[in-house]
Symmetry: D2
Subunit: 338 residues, 4 copies
């Protein structure tokens, strides 16, 4: 931690800061520059509350942490890449994992049809929402537990494990009973009660980046889950909110290699929510392979024009086939496989 004093801070004030720094358990090293004094502090500065305390002194200009605030999720502490198993599927190694299916589970026929299409095209995990976080209370909210049963039926038919979103702590145990992987949606990335709860189950977690979350915040949310004992976390870039209006979100494509630099956890891309426009899903999915993502999560609907949600960004079955065949060519180059 570096404490920067204001220009003109007196010697008494410097001494006071130094005393405070010691009180907080750090070892201070004052460095007197031409215009300012800075105090370098040796110690573990991961707990930000302590830093804020110093920042509230009137003669302190700023307090700059040096250490990354996350430990368990950091590549500095764990060099080897983590591989997360979902059923027989391994995310984070040389297998490239495609999770696909409709936004919402709508009916038995729809989800089974979806699973069959997805499997036939070579994808390995089925996705489908049973609990839907919708911005309007008047929109379809999902089939809830019935949706989970239908997903399980589709799994039985096709053998595909499934991932589905859980939106509140009291549902976690029930969703974990059915699902192979639990998704934390973008709007819940900082729902800390929910993060703690999924940290206590023995199912892998798909953690989506919040729409205005920094990479550091995403990794802090992974840290929440991991701090409860669940180390099987997969990170997901799904677009962030910017001023651009043409797309639903802005796909932060470099977040994927950046997260791989910062963390040992697997990272996948959601090209459907990142763009919100079906015509952009295939090129962005390919970009995901290009930047080294460990997989994709993609919306595909047997009949998008009849979907109860996200129809405009869902691929049709032929488009999904096209996407799979295009990414396969890239995977060969990258030395990966489905």
């Amino acid at each position: 931690m570096i404490v920067v004093l204001k220009v003109g801070a007196t010697e008494a004030q410097q001494k006071h800061v130094i005393a405070k720094v010691k009180e907080l358990g750090f070892k201070p090293h004052p460095i007197v520059g031409a215009e300012r004094t800075v105090i370098a502090c040796i110690g573990d500065d991961r707990d930000k509350a302590q830093l804020q305390t110093l920042g509230s002194l009137s003669y302190v200009d700023s307090v700059m942490p040096i250490l990354k605030p996350y430990k368990l999720a950091s590549k500095e502490t764990t060099k080897e890449r983590t591989v997360v198993k979902v059923g027989n599927v391994a995310i984070g190694g040389s297998q490239f994992v495609v999770m696909a299916g409709p936004c919402s589970v709508e009916s038995r026929a729809q989800i089974i049809k979806s699973a069959e299409i997805v499997k036939a095209a070579g994808a390995q995990i089925l996705r489908g929402g049973a609990f839907k976080p919708r911005s309007s209370p008047y929109s379809f909210q999902g089939l809830e537990e019935e949706g989970l049963r239908l997903l399980a039926a589709a799994r039985e038919r096709t053998g595909l494990p499934f991932v589905t979103e859980v939106v509140t702590p009291s549902d976690v145990a029930m969703v974990a009973d059915y699902a192979d992987m639990l998704q934390i949606g973008a709007r819940n990335m900082q729902n800390f009660a929910l993060l703690k709860e999924v940290g206590r189950v023995r199912k892998p977690i798909l953690l989506k980046r919040g729409m205005s979350s920094t990479l550091k915040e995403l990794l802090m949310s992974a840290e929440y889950v991991m701090s409860q004992g669940n180390y099987d976390v997969v990170l997901c870039e799904r677009g962030i909110r910017t001023f651009e209006e043409y797309t639903r979100n802005t796909c932060d494509i470099s977040a994927i290699p950046a997260l791989k630099e910062l963390s040992h956890l697997p990272v996948i891309l959601d090209p459907s929510h990142a763009t919100g426009l079906r015509s952009l899903v295939i090129p962005v999915a390919k970009a995901g392979v290009a930047v080294g993502a460990h997989g994709l999560i993609v919306e595909m609907h047997p009949k998008p024009e009849e979907a109860v949600s996200d129809g405009a960004q869902s691929l049709t079955p032929p488009q999904f086939d096209k996407m799979m065949s295009e990414i396969k060519k890239y995977l060969v180059i990258e030395g990966k496989h489905l």
Copy 2:
């Protein structure tokens, strides 16, 4: 709803859209322009899922809703301004309401001292966090129910009602037992399970704007609470996330008169989180009065340099007194009172 067809859409495609529009329950009015055809549709277009369905047709350029997606929160449906009572305090009328206190409840002495300072300065509601949503799992997470008991003790001592945050649905009943007003924090503004739950209690709700939420989304979240039967919602601007780094957030000051144009619900300002810097809190609090806010929620700590959280943005007791005396002068001009 206006459906804009792509340039070059065929007559058959137009007919198909018109049929779809009827199927969805709207009355279509095609208007043929020089370059494009648009189809104006009469009906209630508040349910976005239906719109997305049309947007997924390849020859549709865009679908533009006309009606605001919220009803209960809208000024179009309720002309009269809502006044929300918290104990004896009325928010939304000519009384200007100041809620103040520390970020976190830390101890009995600290919260009682805070309540006394706050009351002596003329504020009407005590604030203090018992359940703290913290971005790091290693930071102080709040005293939980013990914190609620201490807040109740401070209320007993001073007569001030209190507002405190609730972070998960299963805590709602317990928090509502103690508190006079329940706060939904910025990170939970789209925690829909939580919104529904607080919609079912009979305590007023302080709903903070999410850090990357539009005004429309804030009003949709209010609609969630109201759709469950709880109409006592107070909106709160608390700064949004932008590229600017000098302040913790960017205070969207015009959101306050904008929300008053769009909704009948009371609107208050949080100058502490909006800026994150103590030196900016007083001027921004005054700006809140200037733009017509119905009140403020402000962080004040008896000893900010010892605060376990948000020390750098908490006012000291003398600064809080100064803020109160400055806003009082403005309130006289505005024909309002504490």
Copy 3:
């Protein structure tokens, strides 16, 4: 400057960085922490190019500058507030300065009428655009030099000095011949050739913040003007671009007290562009007074519904009168005067 080495940097690498630091003219102080080594460097770190050089070494994690990159504009070097004179009007002291008028100069009658209304209401400077930066090449581009002549005629009639925008270096001398103050618009805040050119004239400069510029960048642009010898710079907050769509821009109200903390230059607010909606201009103008702005620049048009540009955000004459009478009440409290 603080150079943070990566975890695991070898001793040889540390020595190399230390040698590089000396080569760049800094005095290095290595500090060995439990996990990382940081090297504090004493010297003037304002030139960022040097920092980037170190950042490109593979075993350097980050380089953090300590000094603010601007000198002439900084309050650290000049404690006393600068007062800028525009004709007889003094911006930056106890006089609160209102600049008002139409977006574009449209005709002799329109600009003279505007000047008379503006003066009668108590404003001290006329504004009006002769060179209009328009996002569409098909929109009205301004009357150019004829517009300057009409502004001069309005000045002759009313005695009001005027401010007008200059958009390209080759026009600077001509515009400076007519105008009392030259405006650099938001889109040109980083048009460095233009900044240098207006730095060489002896007319005060109104420098508007770019729509995605940080406060630091705004001050760096002021530094450009000042580095050429023109110290009469007035800063202007005019709203920044965010994800919010209800308003044209988001008014960053706390930028005003923040800029007053960072710089000795006067700071004014443009509530018209900051909001883009006439109904929000008056409350936001009052907020400007509340946060300590030295003045306002406001769009007023004799007949907004006939304006060739910015009609939707221009006040009508009665609204402008109302704004002036409302801010006057606040100015009394603040010990300021028109």
Copy 4:
């Protein structure tokens, strides 16, 4: 254009709007809904000033344009993709074009060395800055005309045409004398005087997206150049400004296929400025191929640790070779060639 009236607008007000609409040259079609009336207007609504005029009426809720505001740049008017020739290089067809070189021209040896490395690796166009827009007046500002001469010398030696930035209208003719392609930098994307000037030369233009510009605004800036007669415009995505701090900018990767949907102009990607971090340049460059860019512009420096600018994002020569060999594999799949 669709004019949405406020709820409760009277019949007289409707008639007034209809009359105004006719006055502006549009044919009005009023549509009476259950809650609101909207007036669809047939005609060319590209001139936004007219729309704003209607929006300033107190009983109009909003005015929604239907037509895209750009014509010459639009794919709706020109179906065939434009191919821009730079020397013998064709941008926009099956040739994938790599422009590479240092941020700044620093010396004869440096730029000639750069050109040789670039050519040997298979790139087709040399880049290098002679006029540098720098945020600090104290940073290196470029070698100016001497830099152009050195670029010309490098072209003579290697045969590579070169692209270089022009920052002010009065330099356009001179820069066009030397350069094969003129670059408009991100900070000048809305420097309309400069856009008009480069619209009058007969050299192709590389137009970089402004850091907070929408795709629509980028296309409007292209329209400025084209409206002066210069149709040879290449668009460039180079990252936009967001809240994320890990990277210098956020690469909006889906902007590339989106711009190809909206416009017939070629689109390239700048992975260096989009990320600002050398380690992310290669993956993002590959993503550019994946999404269908027509080329790349990349910073490469013979010795990045000695660069006077942008060292941290410049590739080393071996890294540049690696990038070229990796994208070649993707180009084969895409049926493109260097």
